[in-house]
C-alpha cells in the first residue's frame, strides 16, 4: 500500500480510520498492515484518535424545554391574519365551501339561462305614475294650488305676509 500521507486524496483514509469509521472493502487490512511499518502514519492515527476522544467528551447542553413554544409563538406572529383564519377554518373553507359554492353558482346560472324572463328588470310603480302624467293634469293641479293660496290669504291676512 502506498503511504496515505503521500497523497492529497488518500489522507482522509487516515482521518476516517483514526475516527473509528469503517473503510471500504479491505482497506482496513491494508492500512493496518501499512501502519506496522510507517511510524508517520501511526503517529497521525494516534493523534487523530486523541482528537476524536477529546471531541467525544464535549456534550452539548440540552435544548430548552420552551424552545418549541417560543418558535411557534414567532411563527404565529408571522402568519398573516387571513392565513390564521384559513388555518382554523382550514378544511371547511377551502376544501368544502368552495366546491359547494361552485355547484350553487352553476345551478343559478342554469336556471337563469333556462328562464331569461327572470333577468328582465321590473319597473317600479312610482315611475309609471310620473311617466303617466299629462300636461293638462299638471296645469290643473297648479290652478288648484293657486285657489288654495288665495283662500288662505282671505282667511288669515297676517299669515299671508312674510314674517321678518
Amino acid at each position: 500500500m502506498t503511504c496515505p500521507m503521500e497523497g492529497e486524496g488518500t489522507r482522509e483514509v487516515l482521518v476516517a480510520y483514526g475516527g473509528g469509521r469503517a473503510l471500504n472493502g479491505n482497506d482496513t487490512q491494508l492500512l493496518e498492515a501499512h501502519l506496522e511499518t510507517c511510524p508517520r502514519c501511526r503517529e497521525f492515527v494516534r493523534g487523530q484518535r486523541a482528537v476524536w476522544d477529546a471531541l467525544d467528551g464535549w456534550e452539548a447542553e440540552p435544548v430548552s424545554a420552551d424552545f418549541d413554544r417560543r418558535l411557534f409563538a414567532r411563527i404565529e406572529q408571522e402568519v398573516p391574519w387571513w392565513q390564521r383564519i384559513r388555518g382554523r377554518l382550514g378544511v371547511l373553507l377551502i376544501h368544502r365551501a368552495l366546491p359547494v359554492t361552485a355547484v350553487a353558482a352553476l345551478v343559478v346560472a342554469g336556471v337563469l339561462l333556462d328562464r331569461p324572463s327572470l333577468l328582465k328588470r321590473r319597473v317600479p310603480p312610482e315611475t309609471d305614475q310620473v311617466e303617466g302624467l299629462q300636461p293638462d293634469q299638471v296645469v290643473h293641479a297648479l290652478d288648484e294650488m293657486e285657489v288654495l293660496n288665495q283662500f288662505n290669504r282671505s282667511m288669515k291676512p297676517d299669515a299671508a305676509q312674510p314674517q321678518m
Binding site: 487523530q48 482528537v51 471531541l55 467528551g57 452539548a60 435544548v63 430548552s64 408571522e78
Partner: protein
C-alpha cells in the same frame, strides 16, 4: 393545520429532482407536506432535527442562548421558505446550509462575544457543585472541566469554515459530499479543510490521549 393527502413518493422523485433517480428522503416528503399546509409535518421535522441544529450551533458559537436563538431563526426560515421549497437536495443539507450561514454571520457579527466569559465562569462555578456530586473527586472533575475547556478553545480557534466542517463531520457524521454542498464548495476543498482542521486540533489536543 389540516393534513392533506399526498401523491405517491415516486411522483415527487420524477418531478422534483430534475431527472435524478435518487429516492426522496423522508424529511423532504415531510417538507413537501408542510408546503401543502400540513403544520403537523413541520412539528415532526422540528422534533427530528431540533437537537442536532441547536447542538451544532452551540458548538459553532459556544453560547447556549445564542445557539438557541439562531436555531429558532433556522426553523423560522425553513417555515418561511415552505412555499418555494423544492427537494433538489437532501433536507438536512438544506437545513445545515441555513444553520451554517447563520452561524458564520453570527461569528462575524461577534454575537458570541460572551462565550469566553462563559467558559471562564463555568470553570469557576464547578467546584461549588462538585462537593455534593456523585463524581469521584474534586480534582478529577477539575481536570475534566479543564480538558473540556481546552477542547472548546481549540475548536473555537479554528477558522469558521474549518470549524463548521469538523462539527458536521464529527458530530453529524456527514459525508464529504454533503459537507461540500452545505459549505458550497468542492469535495476536495472539504477534504483539505478537514485535514487542516484536524492537523491543528492534533497539535493542540494530542497530549490529552
Amino acid at each position: 393545520m389540516a393534513r392533506l393527502p399526498q401523491p405517491p413518493v415516486t411522483e415527487w422523485v420524477n418531478t422534483g429532482m430534475g431527472g435524478a433517480t435518487a429516492a426522496l428522503d423522508y424529511d423532504a416528503e415531510l417538507m413537501l407536506r408542510v408546503k401543502d399546509g400540513d403544520g403537523a409535518s413541520f412539528g415532526l421535522l422540528l422534533e427530528k432535527h431540533r437537537s442536532a441544529v441547536v447542538h451544532f450551533l452551540y458548538r459553532m458559537v459556544q453560547h447556549h442562548a445564542v445557539a438557541e436563538e439562531l436555531a429558532q431563526e433556522v426553523f423560522l426560515r425553513v417555515f418561511r421558505s415552505r412555499g418555494t421549497y423544492e427537494p433538489t437536495a437532501k433536507f438536512t443539507t438544506w437545513l445545515f446550509r441555513i444553520a451554517t450561514h447563520l452561524a458564520l454571520n453570527a461569528l462575524r457579527d461577534g454575537r458570541n462575544e460572551r462565550s469566553e466569559e462563559r467558559l471562564d465562569a463555568r470553570s469557576e462555578d464547578m467546584p461549588a457543585r462538585q462537593v455534593e456530586d456523585r463524581r469521584p473527586s474534586v480534582e478529577q472533575e477539575m481536570v475534566r472541566r479543564a480538558a473540556l475547556d481546552e477542547v472548546k478553545r481549540a475548536v473555537a480557534a479554528l477558522p469558521d469554515k474549518q470549524r463548521a466542517a469538523v462539527l458536521m463531520h464529527k458530530y453529524r457524521e456527514m459525508e464529504y459530499s454533503q459537507i461540500a454542498k452545505v459549505l458550497n464548495c468542492s469535495e476536495s476543498a472539504v477534504k483539505s479543510l478537514l485535514f487542516r482542521a484536524y492537523e491543528t486540533l492534533r497539535a493542540r489536543l494530542a497530549h490529552m490521549a
